[in-house]
Symmetry: C2
Subunit: 452 residues, 2 copies
C-alpha cells in the first residue's frame, strides 16, 4: 500500500487520461495516473498472439480530420498502412449476394437512391447540432424524445433502404435504432463530420491502420509519463473538498489538488464520491450506457477473397456478423477478416458458448465469402461487454431525453474533479481521436484554472 501526492491525479490510463496527463506533466504539474488494468490503452488493445500475429482487439483505425491522433502518430514516428479496400464489397439482399463499391451498401439500385438520400438528410440535420451544446438546438426536446427507429419509420424511404439504415445504425453506435435518441445520433454524426466520412474506408474513418498496433500510441504517451503511472489500481472512492481530492484505490491512497476522472461516464458513476455527486450529475451518468459489440478476428492461410475480386468488407442486416473488413497485416502471409458482431447481435452472441459463437461466425463468413471461409487457421475474440473496466464499446450513449435535460452538466467539473473521455469530446466523440482531444481539453482547463 502506497500513499503519495501529486498536483493532479488522473484516473484511467486510456487515451483520454494519458493525453490529459501528458499535457499537465509538460506544463510542470506533478502527476499520478491510476489505472485499473494491468496495461494502458483502455479500449485500444493490441496483442501479439501465440502465432506471432498482431491482433487488434479494440479501436484500430484513424482517418482524415482525426488530427490529434494523426499528429501523435507522426510525432511518435509510428508506421502506418492503408486499409485494404480494393475489389467489391458485399451485402445480402433477400438471400442474394450483391456487390457494391464505396461506403454505402448500394448493391440494389432501387434501394441505393433512397439510402443516399437518407445519408444526406441525416448528415445535413446533424450539421445543425452544435456538438458543444446539443441541448441548444431549437428542436432539442423533440429530437431527443424520438428514437432513430421512430425517425426511420416516419421517412418516405423504401423498406429496403430502412433495413440498411438500421444496419448502419447498429454498426455505427453500436446499439439498436430503438435505443438511440435522434438528437444523440445527430450529435454523434456531427462530431464525426458526417455519415459517409464515418462509415467509409478510403478518405474516411477506416482509412489507416497503425502497423504495430493502435495501443502503441498509449504506450508512447505512457513512456513520456514514466513511473507516474500505477497499473492494477482500480479506484473505489474519491473524497473531495474545494481544495483537493483523496483517491482510494487498490494500491493505496493518492492525494492531489485536482482529479481527472478519465473513464466512460457509466464507470465514473460507479466510484463512490464523498460528498456524493450532485443529483444532476448522478442522474446523467445513470442515463449513459455503453454500446454492445464483440470483435472477432478470423485468420486464414491466405486472403483468398482478394483473388475473387472482393475487398473483404461486407455489411449484413440479419446475420450475426454485421460488418467485416480485410484485416490482413502487410508483414504476414495470413489473410484475416475482422468481424464486428454489434448491438443486439452482440447480446445474443454473449448468451452463446465460445464454440457456438465461432460456429455462427464461420457460417456467416461462408455465406458471404464462400466455402473457402469454412476453415480458418485461428480465431480470436474480444467480448467488450465482459470487460470489467470497459463494460461495452465503442462508446457511451446518452439515452433518449438525456441530452436535452441533463446534457449541460456532462462536461462540468464537480469541485476539483474534472472529466475526460471520448464521450465528452465535441469532435470525433466515440473515437480514439475524441479521447485524445477530450483529455487535452480537460488538461488545458485545469491549467487555465491553476494559472488564475
Amino acid at each position: 500500500m502506497i500513499e503519495n501526492e501529486a498536483d493532479v491525479v488522473v484516473v484511467g490510463a486510456g487515451l483520454a487520461g494519458l493525453s490529459a496527463a501528458r499535457v499537465l506533466a509538460e506544463a510542470g504539474q506533478d502527476i499520478v495516473v491510476l489505472e485499473a488494468r494491468d496495461r494502458v490503452g483502455g479500449r485500444t488493445c493490441s496483442v501479439i498472439e501465440e502465432d506471432g500475429r498482431l491482433v487488434e482487439y479494440g479501436g484500430q483505425w484513424v482517418g482524415p480530420t482525426q488530427d490529434r491522433m494523426l499528429e501523435l502518430i507522426e510525432q511518435f514516428g509510428l508506421d502506418t498502412f492503408t486499409q485494404y479496400a480494393d475489389g467489391d464489397n458485399l451485402q445480402l439482399v433477400d438471400g442474394k449476394l450483391l456487390r457494391y463499391h464505396g461506403a454505402v451498401p448500394t448493391g440494389d439500385p432501387l434501394i441505393a437512391a433512397d439510402l443516399m438520400d437518407a445519408m444526406v438528410d441525416l448528415t445535413s440535420a446533424a450539421l445543425e447540432v452544435d456538438t458543444a451544446e446539443p441541448w441548444r438546438h431549437p428542436r432539442a426536446t423533440e429530437l431527443d424524445g424520438l428514437t432513430v427507429e421512430s425517425w426511420i419509420r416516419q421517412q418516405p424511404y423504401c423498406e429496403g433502404a430502412k433495413v440498411w439504415l438500421r444496419a448502419m445504425t447498429r454498426a455505427l453506435f453500436p446499439a439498436e435504432p430503438g435505443e438511440i435518441s435522434l438528437l444523440h445520433a445527430l450529435f454523434y454524426i456531427s462530431s464525426g463530420g458526417g455519415l459517409e466520412k464515418m462509415i467509409g474506408t478510403i478518405n474516411s474513418a477506416q482509412e489507416t491502420r497503425i502497423t504495430h498496433g493502435s495501443m502503441q500510441v498509449s504506450e508512447r504517451l505512457a513512456e513520456l509519463l514514466g513511473d507516474s503511472i500505477r497499473l492494477g489500481c482500480p479506484v473505489s472512492r474519491i473524497e473531495y473538498t474545494d481544495s483537493g481530492v483523496t483517491v482510494h484505490h487498490d494500491g493505496g491512497i493518492t492525494r492531489a489538488r485536482r482529479a481527472v476522472v478519465a473513464l466512460a461516464p457509466t464507470l465514473a458513476g460507479r466510484i463512490r464520491y464523498s460528498p456524493p455527486m450532485p443529483g444532476l450529475r448522478d442522474q446523467l451518468t445513470q442515463r449513459i450506457f455503453m454500446g454492445s459489440s464483440v470483435k472477432i478476428s478470423v485468420a486464414y492461410a491466405t486472403p483468398f477473397w482478394r483473388e475473387d475480386g472482393l475487398s473483404g468488407h461486407m455489411m449484413g442486416d440479419n446475420t450475426l456478423v454485421q460488418v467485416t473488413f480485410d484485416q490482413t497485416h502487410p508483414d504476414r502471409p495470413e489473410g484475416v477478416l475482422v468481424c464486428f458482431v454489434d448491438s443486439n447481435s452482440a447480446r445474443r452472441a454473449l448468451a452463446m458458448t465460445a464454440e457456438e459463437r465461432r460456429a455462427h461466425v464461420i457460417e456467416d463468413l461462408v455465406t458471404y465469402f464462400g466455402e473457402k471461409a469454412r476453415h480458418p487457421v485461428n480465431v480470436h475474440e474480444k467480448l467488450w461487454m465482459e470487460e470489467e473496466w470497459s463494460r461495452g464499446c465503442y462508446t457511451g450513449i446518452l439515452s433518449p431525453g438525456t441530452w436535452s435535460t441533463l446534457g449541460q452538466v456532462l462536461r462540468t467539473p464537480v469541485g476539483p474533479i474534472h472529466w475526460a473521455g471520448t464521450e465528452y469530446a465535441t469532435v470525433w466523440s466515440g473515437y480514439m481521436d475524441g479521447a485524445v482531444r477530450s483529455g487535452e481539453t480537460t488538461a488545458a482547463a485545469i491549467l487555465a484554472e491553476a494559472g488564475r
Copy 2:
C-alpha cells in the same frame, strides 16, 4: 470492524430487503441485513419534524389490490386513514383555472373525451403485456423502440389532450415522455392494473395513508429481524463462488451461502463484484435509470382550500409543481399540501437554491389555490436525486430498447446472488407493494433452491 456469517446476507433494508429477510428468517434461515443508511425503509421516510408534525418524505399511499402492503398493515395493526378527496380538483388550461372531479383532468370537456379515450387505449394495450415477460409481446421490439412521446405524437387526440397525457406521464414515472419506451410504459401500467387505478385517489393507488407513517411497515419488519440488521454498512464489494458470497462493507465482512441484493438496479450495478457481473447483466443495469422527483410538504395554519370547495389536488402541465394532494393529518390542525415536482421540472428545481425552489413552489400554489397559499407556516422538502443511497425515485426505468433485448436477465440470479426491489416486481412495480412482493418472491426462490 466485524466479521460474521449467515445463511443469507441481504443488502438493503428497504421494503424489498426486509420482506425477503423476514420470509427467510421465518423459515429458519440465519440472516444478516446490511443497510447503507442509518435507518431502515429505503424510499419510504417518515419523520416527526421540529413542529411535531409527521412529514412523509417518500412513498406514502396504499390502495386496493396492493394486497401484500394491506396485509402487512393489518398484521402489524397499523392505523390508517383515507386520503382527503372531497371537493374539486384543479387544472390550469390556457391560463384559466378549471375544476374537475376524479382521476383524470377533465375540466375542459373537449379535451376530456380524448383524454379518456387515450387512457382506455393505453390501459387495454398494457393489459396485453405479460409483466413477467414483456419481451414476449408479439410487437415487443417495435413498442420498445418507440418512446411514449412518439406514441403521443402519432395519436389522433387533440393537442390539449396530448398536453395532459404528457403531464400524466411525468407524474406517474416520473420521467419525460421522451425518455420512456412505450413497452416499459405498458409494462408499468399493466403491473398497476391500469392507468385510472394508478393515478386516482378513492378506490385507487392514492386511497389510504398510514397514520403514523409508511416507514412503520419497515420498522415493524425490522423489529421481527432484531439485531440481524446492521445500519451504516454500505456494501462496496461482493466476492462470490457457486457456494457462497463474501460481502465487504463499511462495517466489516459478512460471509453467507447466498445474497439478496435488494437495491435499485442502477445502485446494484455500482457494487464491485468478483468475478465481475456477466456482460448482459451489466449492460442491463447500465440501462435502468432512476426517475426524477422532488417532494415538498407545505404546511399552512389551516386547510383553507377545503372552505373553497377544493380537494387540494391539482395537476399542472407547465408549472414547476405538477401535482399536489391534501396532506393534512387527522390529528393536527395544520393544513398541508404535498407538492410533487417531477421529471424535468425536478431537474430544473435541483439547479435552484432552496430559497428559489421554495419561492417557485409558493408562487405555483398561489396560482392554483389563491393568495391564502402565499404564507405557509412551514416547508419541508426531499430531493431524492441527491440521496446517495436512492439517487432518484420513485423507481428505476428501463431505457428504450432494453426490455426487448436485455429484459430476460433482469430477475435471473447470478450464481448465489439474487435480486429484489420494486423494479423486479410483476405486480405494482415501482410501488411499496411491488417492493414487498419482490422481496417475498425472491425469498421463496431461495428457499426452494435451499430445499432441493
